[in-house]
């Protein structure tokens, strides 16, 4: 029922192509994130699903239904807008009840319609039937807003407005929930707690969710799977761990988490190891290289820093010599910028009190395990 499939979708605005041949297969109940930098086409993709834009070519399925000829108001996609788009002239209750009213409207005779129009325009002009009232109050309780049912939306805090928008979309029991950067208008703290709220609700209801964001941390911590987009293309789709440990392009390696990216050439293959050389370093990796010229990806937290005089077996692990240029405390970790040849590598080490911190200008040895050296 709630799966979403996008096949070979292209979208052009005039002679600008915003989406190139997008393919997505989102499973029922999945929390799916669209991640990418500004302008890469996330919103456009979502608007195509919601029916506000028409793909130039390709097709979209919601459930088993091809939706090309289904207008936006019949797609049953609950959308949470970036700006929330709450109706400013209605209170919280009326906002949430809107879709239920519309459902009633479409199912009634002309005389009843008039009274529904009445209550859509003003509470005083029509009474809500009990089923709507109960359902709205239930969902408001669920998002902990039942106390504020009769407030105007402008009288709510950002987080509360966010929850009204969520409740308004959820009350219609949509096949898919679409959220376009729903947290970007909230402050840092609230964002973290709303992440949990949204994730919990999604798990609770088992509702298929497409979540647009340009914040990789958000995508990685919330989603079951993530599609990374760049310039209208989908670059990689995978689970957060998959993306992290197997980035398929330098772009992803950089976008998903922090990476050190080095250019190298394959010098030899020996004992299942790939040996690479680059400017001022030599590295071995237990991963296979596809080409002779490779991008070498090393995550900052996979590097250890040792004193320059320590003795390490070069057969067990990679050893690189460098010089500390800067060290920074980041809460529980210490981040070093280390000059290696022409590269500055970022190294994150967990900080335990009393441990030795390498000062600027200090010569050090860096070690990286062979399986941690990723090749693209």
């Amino acid at each position: 029922m709630g799966s979403v499939k996008i096949q070979n979708m292209t979208k052009t605005f005039g002679d600008f192509t915003a989406l190139h041949d997008i393919n997505l297969d989102i499973k029922e109940g999945e929390f799916f994130a669209l991640l990418g930098p500004s302008g890469c086409g996330k919103t456009t993709t979502m608007r195509c699903v919601a029916g506000f834009e028409n793909p130039t070519s390709g097709s979209i399925y919601i459930g088993d239904r091809e939706v090309e000829n289904v207008p936006a108001n019949k797609r049953n996609c609950g959308m949470v807008f970036q700006s929330y788009a709450l109706f400013p002239h209605m209170d919280v209750f009326d906002n949430v009840a809107y879709s239920l009213n519309i459902k009633h409207l479409n199912a009634s005779n002309p005389i009843k319609r008039l009274s529904i129009f009445g209550r859509l325009l003003s509470k005083r002009l029509g009474k809500y039937p009990d089923d709507i009232r109960n359902k709205v109050m239930e969902i408001l309780e669920y998002v902990e807003l039942d106390q504020h049912a009769n407030r105007l939306t402008s009288e709510l805090s950002g987080g509360q407005q966010q929850r009204v928008a969520l409740a308004r979309a959820l009350v219609m029991e949509p096949a898919v929930l679409l959220m376009d950067e729903p947290l970007s208008n909230l402050d840092q703290k609230l964002r973290h707690s709303m992440r949990n709220t949204i994730r919990t609700i999604q798990q609770d209801l088992g509702i298929t969710t497409i979540f647009v964001t340009h914040d990789q941390e958000e995508a990685m911590s919330m989603a079951d799977r993530v599609a990374v987009m760049d310039k209208g293309h989908i670059v990689q789709i995978g689970t957060p761990t998959d993306l992290y440990s197997n980035p398929q392009t330098p772009f992803i390696a950089n976008f998903v988490g922090t990476s050190n990216i080095l250019k190298g050439t394959v010098a030899a293959e020996e004992n299942g190891m790939t040996v690479m050389k680059g400017e001022g370093f030599q590295l071995k990796s237990s991963n296979k290289a596809k080409n002779k010229d490779v991008d070498i990806i090393i995550r900052p937290e996979h590097v250890r820093v040792e004193p320059a005089d320590s003795v390490i077996d070069p057969l067990q692990t990679n050893v690189i010599e460098g010089e500390v240029i800067m060290s920074t405390y980041l809460g529980s970790i210490v981040r070093y910028d280390v000059q290696v040849g022409s590269y500055q590598l970022i190294v994150d080490t967990t900080y335990s009190s009393g441990a030795n911190i390498f000062q600027e200008g200090k010569k050090v040895k860096l070690t990286v395990d062979h399986e941690r050296v990723l090749l693209i």
């Binding site: 108001n73 959308m79 700006s83 788009a85 109706f87 002239h89 859509l120 325009l121 308004r168 219609m172």
Partner: protein, 568 residues
């Protein structure tokens, strides 16, 4: 393709209906007047579409198209002088209004002159009074038996200080009753012109008059020119003042056109005059548009700077005195009308010989119908324009319908008399014989005042973000339902503001009422107009007072509403 399928059917139907409305009641009449100006005989274009005999006879007439009638007209010295006189009148009024307004606008915008609030408030008077009433008020003041004339004579003057029945009379009335149209744009121009440049000039040691002439004024110049052109069009199109004041020998286009129709049923002549009027008005409107385009005063320097107001006592006092004198004239004119409405007789002496409420009794017993008619017609026009304007602004703002935007601004350039003539000509005969019905009258009022309504609704439409509407659609509403339940209510403030404007201007409307209103639907403006022509001055005065009070009351309600809105 899909856009249309997206449940747009309801909205599309409405869009088509609006096009039909404008096509039928605005473009077609204007077009047929254009044709008639060549054929010289009435042409029934609608009939030609439905009836083959009419079609054939129309074809015959079209074959007879020639510039003959235009040639005849321009050799007809009467028409030519009318054009010259009308242009001269508009030109004089334009120049004088600007000269009068510059000190006034500067005083309001840039100084701490005393009585500023009072002066600003009094500047509203001319805007609420129909021009034919102002013209008539000037007769009470400056006429042969007017009180000003009497004072003038008592002081030793000969004859009249100013003969109201002359070009000068028309000019003076228009100046005193049209100046607020230029005043407020000028005030705005003076307020935003970059004050730091002026300060720089003063810092460099320039005298303040020098700064005004060479810095302040040039900066406000685009605003000045645009206001001047606006006044030109307003004066050129005005019907109320000339019809009351212009003497027989002073030919003016509007009066001439009116006489050709209502006196002689000379369709050809009236049509040519109409075409000329529209062309002139459109040209000046276009010029004005050129000057305002791209000059959004509000955004000249982003945030308005805190302006230093002139505190020089001498400058402020003389500006204040001057401004009070200017605004006093329309006030006195209206007071004269009020005084006449309670006078038994007035004319022999400086003051009325006695006072009575009989004139009011008379109009409330005999003319109650006119008051009702005015209110009903204005309500009809109001409802129609609210509906049309709401949808038009929806189409213009959301669907970028430039065509509709253009179409709804056409009425701005068509003088009332010209539009009236075009409508009569077109709907005189079957298949759509509407001349003489209240319906055509309401439609005419609606089209004429729609631009104001559209501006007002478009403003609030722009303020509604698109995603709010999309949210409604996403929640299952069709675009039409979303428009009614979400967009409509959010536009209410704009609609309310526009409504008052439409209502008030329709009640004041003269030219359309005079041409199109059938006796059983005669509104107040027509009744007053006829009373004046019949020299029944006392009941005209009483009715004028009722009209002005009605307009004032409405304006008051509107102000109250908008203040409440702002408080929210």
């Amino acid at each position: 393709m899909k856009r249309i399928k997206n449940g747009f059917s309801g909205l599309t139907v409405i869009k088509v209906l609006i096009y039909i409305f404008f096509g039928l009641f605005m473009l077609l009449p204007l077009f047929s007047v254009f044709i008639v100006s060549f054929t010289g005989q009435p042409t029934n274009l609608l009939g030609a579409l439905t009836d083959s005999t009419i079609f054939n006879s129309t074809l015959e007439k079209l074959k007879g198209i020639s510039l003959e009638s235009y040639k005849k007209v321009f050799s007809n010295s009467g028409y030519l002088t009318a054009l010259k006189n009308s242009l001269l009148l508009a030109f004089l009024v334009m120049i004088i209004v600007i000269l009068v307004c510059i000190p006034l606008a500067y005083g309001i915008a840039r100084t701490k002159m005393p009585f500023k609030k009072t002066i600003s408030a009094l500047c509203m008077i001319p805007l609420i009074v129909p021009t034919f009433i102002s013209a008539y008020a000037f007769i009470i003041m400056f006429g042969r038996a007017g009180w000003v004339t009497q004072i003038y004579n008592a002081l030793g003057g000969e004859g009249m200080l100013l003969n109201p029945y002359s070009m000068a009379g028309v000019v003076v009335v228009q100046v005193f009753f049209f100046f607020p149209y230029a005043l407020w744009p000028l005030v705005a121009a003076f307020k935003v012109s970059d004050i730091s440049l002026e300060e720089a000039s003063l810092n460099l040691g320039a005298k303040s008059w020098f700064t005004f002439v060479f810095v302040t004024f040039p900066l406000a110049l685009p605003g000045v020119i645009s206001s001047a052109l606006l006044i030109f069009t307003v004066s050129f199109s005005d019907f109320g003042t000339p019809i009351v004041l212009a003497p027989k020998e002073l030919n003016l286009l509007v009066v001439e056109a009116y006489r050709e129709i209502s006196g002689f049923f000379n369709w050809g002549g009236a049509a040519i005059l109409t075409v000329v009027m529209v062309i002139v008005a459109a040209f000046f409107f276009y010029l004005q548009h050129l000057f305002t385009k791209g000059k959004n005063y509000g955004s000249v320097s982003g945030k308005p700077k805190q302006q230093k107001l002139v505190e020089n006592k001498l400058v402020n006092r003389s500006l204040s005195l001057y401004s009070l004198l200017i605004v006093l004239v329309p006030l006195l004119a209206m007071l004269s009308v009020a005084l006449q409405s309670v006078a038994t007789t007035w004319g022999k002496d400086l003051l009325p010989s006695g006072y009575t409420l009989n004139h009011y009794k008379t109009i409330f017993s005999t003319s109650m119908g006119n008051i009702q008619n005015s209110i009903m017609l204005a309500t009809g026009a109001l409802v129609l324009s609210v509906i049309i304007a709401t949808f038009v602004s929806y189409f213009v703002v959301r669907q970028n319908s430039a065509k509709l935007d253009f179409m709804t601004s056409i009425p701005l350039v068509v003088p009332g008399i010209a539009f009236g003539i075009a409508l009569i000509q077109t709907f005189n005969t079957a298949p759509l014989q509407l001349t003489g019905t209240a319906l055509l009258l309401i439609i005419a009022y609606t089209i004429r005042r729609l631009p104001y309504m559209v501006r007002s609704t478009m403003g609030s439409m722009r303020a509604i973000k698109q995603d709010i509407e999309e949210a409604a659609i996403n929640l299952g509403a069709t675009p039409l339902t979303a428009a009614i339940t979400i967009v409509g209510p959010l536009m209410l403030p704009g609609i309310a503001a526009g409504s008052v404007l439409v209502f008030v201007t329709v009640i004041k409307e003269t030219s359309i009422s005079v041409l199109l209103a059938p006796p059983e639907w005669a509104p107040m403006s027509l009744a007053i107009f006829q009373n004046i022509l019949r020299a029944e001055y006392y009941s005209a005065a009483a009715m004028s007072v009722v009209l002005v009070v009605l307009v004032l009351a409405l304006q008051g309600i509107a102000n109250l509403l908008s203040r409440k809105q702002q408080l929210k």
